[in-house]
Symmetry: C2
């Protein structure tokens, strides 16, 4: 039993999946949840994702010894303001936010100093689907979870959060919040910005209905992430703008070079970029397939 | 029987799939093929994709009444130069190129004028995989094939090419080459450029191994098209540069606005773009799912 009473604040895809995974792993006595959206609370109850989902956050976290915050990152401050009065002094508080420096800053601002029992974490899992109905007990299996320690963090609190994610089948690693934010700006936040921007541009063109009618499988894959929650991603890009903006700039330089090569019919640059990209993508794909084969073997996967 | 003797020039993913589909549909007497790559020819023979795969293109097309060109678009001229001496005067010649204005111009240049038996076509199908080993008789089922007529095109030749694609389970539509090239610049060529450019940029970063290690499912989908054939896509973006470059410019304007909104912490623009994109993507996804449900029902799918 990792938690006598687990409270999940934010019953979306990730929060719902945390509750379901905790139930499936049998690591929590009682599981309560809260969401500002009454429909999510009702669905979470109907689906048996949580044992109780009170109308306000206070009763949901009262008595909990482990509280998982799973709200859009810029809602962290508001969520903490409303729940901190009900938080037990020795409860472990953790989060699932995709940006870490900003969440740590918000927590520090709310509590004046960083509570030793606060463990900043980010499970690298998710789909473009949203809401508790899409949640899945297996979402974190063979995934990475990154903990970004702060100086005040209690080793005992961190160990409990690690145990939680390991019970869900994930591999836990540690890095600094700044390093985390740079990595995910590059491989997650930037691709989301590029995909949302493309789909919006096409949707605003007068021929958009026809364009989408002929769009094939490659387009469907490329734009899948543009089906993700606008509010969640709005929060992420704003919260991580200091890491993201330099990468957008770097991308614009690369795209401008590519545009110039295409416009001036320079075959060398185009073929070089495409070939390097294809090679890197094949290497990555082979690695992904090795991992999923390893996970099907039950030998674990994840980063060695 | 649509062809007594079908010849496929270029035994890659698309050419191989044309040969396999023709065999499966029983619409060709004999099927011969040619590829400049000896390995592709050997594999095509071993896999039974073609009945014969001579070392040179002449014997492969000699006696054929239907010739399908399935080479990278900028190889069209070279392929035609080497095969035209062996082409029967009444043979129907068609292609599968992703760019139509350029292919039509190359054919015109090769033959001095556009042959009435030349039918420019583009099946909207494919995957990021390459080579005859990845070819699939079902690749064109419930897909669009676009024919872009030219003024000299013979109705009888067009009817045979239409019959070919319909026998493979595809829906055939017609539009002008210019309109075709604009549509696919937006929904196919631009996304490929954006994806190749991103993967190359990340691959050139000093932290690239770590970046790819943590890249999750969203990244995998977004970059799947960057695993496509560099040569094929190099040809496409060069051949369609007059339609593509203005769209890259338009995208750079949109991305610059997004960059500005993120950098200046303007929540309205970011949330508006993401929300419009998500709504358009959901609409598109629902449409795709309706089509694939219809195709599983055997009621056909495709654009109504």
């Amino acid at each position: 039993m990792i938690a006598q009473h687990l409270a999940v604040v934010g019953l979306g895809l990730i929060g719902g999946s945390v509750a379901r995974a905790a139930r499936a792993a049998g690591i929590a006595g009682q599981i309560t949840g809260f969401d500002v959206d009454a429909r999510q609370r009702e669905q979470a109850l109907e689906l048996g994702v949580v044992d109780a989902a009170p109308d306000t956050v206070g009763p949901a976290v009262t008595g909990a010894d482990l509280v998982v915050l799973a709200v859009p990152v810029l809602e962290t401050g508001l969520a903490l303001d409303t729940l901190r009065g009900a938080l037990a002094p020795d409860a472990v508080l953790t989060d699932v936010g995709s940006t870490k420096s900003s969440v740590i800053a918000i927590v520090k601002h709310t509590f004046r100093e960083l509570p030793p029992n606060f463990v900043p974490a980010h499970p690298i899992a998710g789909t473009e689907k949203t809401g508790v109905a899409a949640s899945d007990a297996g979402l974190f299996r063979n995934r990475h979870v990154i903990i970004t320690p702060h100086e005040q963090m209690s080793p005992a609190a961190a160990a409990r959060v690690e145990a939680l994610w390991e019970a869900f089948g994930a591999t836990v690693e540690r890095m600094t919040p700044e390093h985390h934010d740079e990595i995910f700006a590059a491989t997650s936040h930037l691709p989301h910005v590029l995909s949302f921007t493309l789909v919006d541009m096409l949707a605003r063109m007068s021929s958009s209905a026809e364009l989408f009618n002929y769009a094939a499988g490659g387009f469907r894959d490329f734009t899948r992430i543009a089906g993700s929650s606008p509010k969640m991603w709005h929060d992420i890009v704003r919260a991580n703008r200091s890491a993201l903006v330099p990468l957008i700039d770097r991308y614009m330089v690369s795209l401008k070079q590519m545009r110039h090569a295409i416009a001036t019919d320079d075959p060398i640059h185009v073929l070089e970029v495409f070939t390097r990209a294809r090679n890197a993508r094949e290497h990555y794909e082979a690695d992904q397939q090795r991992r999923s084969a390893a996970s099907e073997d039950g030998t674990g996967g994840g980063a060695a």
